[in-house]
Amino acid sequence: MVSKNDLSDGIESVRSDFPIFKRRINGKRFAYLDSASTSQKPKQVIKAISDYYVNYNSNIHRGIYNIAEKSTSMYISSKEHIAKYINANSYNEIIYTRNTTESINLVALTLGNEYVNKEDHILITDLEHHSNIVPWQLLAKRKSAAVDYIKLDESKEHLDINSIKEQLEKDPKIVAISHASNVLGTVNDVKEITREAHKHGSIVIVDGAQAVSHMSVDVRDINCDFYAFSSHKMFGPSGIGVLYGKEELLENMGPLYGGGDMIHTVTHDTYSWNSLPWKFEAGTPNIEGAIGLNAAIDYIEQIGIQRIAKHNMALTAYLLEHLSKIDDITVYGPKNVDNRRIGVVSFDIKGLHPHDVAQVFDSEGIAIRAGHHCAMPLITESLNRSALSRISFNVYNNYVEIDRALKAIKKAKKLFKVK
């Protein structure tokens, strides 16, 4: 096996921005092939967070003193930056939550509660993460509504176009769909689905957890009503996520939580809400998280999301090519490397449990994911497996790590005497 060590445009130098790669695991250089789970953090993000603690730790919106003004303005510029990054109209449309999961639940618990009634339909897809399934199941249960699923096509690689058409005929109140699958790597045509869904009067929410660090996202071009994602999957800290919502919708939604910052005035008997986006952010938010996320987006912009995408696709193509040459391996998800997939590859080795595969990888210092990837309906019902192994990439990965992964597969097969 010949290793390609260089990616032609010099992107491999970014690896040194990530301090964790100095570590050795089980005596081996640490290879992290689980970025779909969470990304590693560059020193620029770590520094931005520690700078907040060291130099201007203070609450926002409250203090009339130097450092409180600094932290407030840093928090707001984080929102402005996000708004610009995903092409929202303004930061009024950017609500900070804890993660993608909370963003989706926020919509289900506010707009969902108001808008969905008995016997209404909520439409999701066969390739969703639990975080874009269970909030809708809960809503459907509260309202005696139905959750329907857009099916995968024959190849089990993409959503079935006919199933989309068929399900939209039910005029679902809500259509919730992932931008990219965390198991198959499939990128859904969310723009087209949104356009069709709007013809049926549906509200469209897109789960962008996997997409944001792999492709440029333009919420106005997609024209979805809501877009949810997590900072921790895009080089930022965990504990902070984003809900983008169209301003006119957010204006008309009630808040989820009550408390400080989300109100305008309070008397013994009455209250009035604060303006957007603060109406949805009760209590002291994750200030250092917002600052870290801002630095993470700086970081992505400095490298360029197109370069990151190209890099991840080059690695994916290399991995897919080599996996296809190994006996007894089934690869799930699209085999074509184009703009309809991201750098997430799930596979199964005949006769080997994914936990054993991951354990052998770990003994080689390589982190991969094994299990149902929080997508049980996809894995157990659509793909008819109980668990899968998954390799996923981001900007700091390289061909050498893939070669090591391929070697680990051979080692696992040998150890367990699979041919």
């Binding site: 449990h353 936990h355 054993d356 052998v360 094994a370 157990t380 109980s386 668990a387 150890l415 005497k417």
Partner: protein
């Protein structure tokens, strides 16, 4: 590699006591949804002693090998001895420390066995298994 000792791999490849007992006195099924490990244990019991035991199911090497070793170990044991078994006994038996990530794989068969014994006796499960 330490984790996958020869003995463990050999039990995984050729598990002992694999199969079903059609006229069992007790039968219990456990499932671990995070990895799909799935084990059913069948017991033949006489005078509160395990006369015969078989297990059936699918799983990773740790869960299958520990089921194989465990079923070997408990044959001829009193039910009261099974009730006293805990994670420590199991760890000694399988001779590896599965670590937190594989704990559930390793303990699935013991949990299932205890379930089968419980079903036979209708006694509440003891604290040792509850927390596994």
């Amino acid at each position: 590699m330490d984790f996958y000792a020869e003995e463990l791999i050999s039990h995984y490849e050729h598990p002992h006591n694999k199969g079903v007992i059609s006229n069992s006195d007790s039968k219990f099924h456990e499932y671990n949804p995070t990895c799909g490990d799935d084990i059913t244990i069948y017991l033949k019991i006489k005078n509160d002693i395990i006369e015969d035991v078989k297990f059936d199911g699918n799983g990773c090497s740790i869960s299958i090998a520990s089921a194989s070793m465990l079923t070997d170990f408990v044959k001829g044991k009193k039910l009261s001895e099974i009730e006293k078994m805990d994670f420590k006994t199991l760890k000694e038996l399988i001779n590896i420390d599965p670590g937190p990530a594989r704990l559930k794989c390793a303990t699935l068969s013991l949990k299932t066995l205890k379930g089968a014994v419980f079903l036979y006796e209708h006694k509440p499960m003891d604290q040792n298994t509850k927390n596994m």
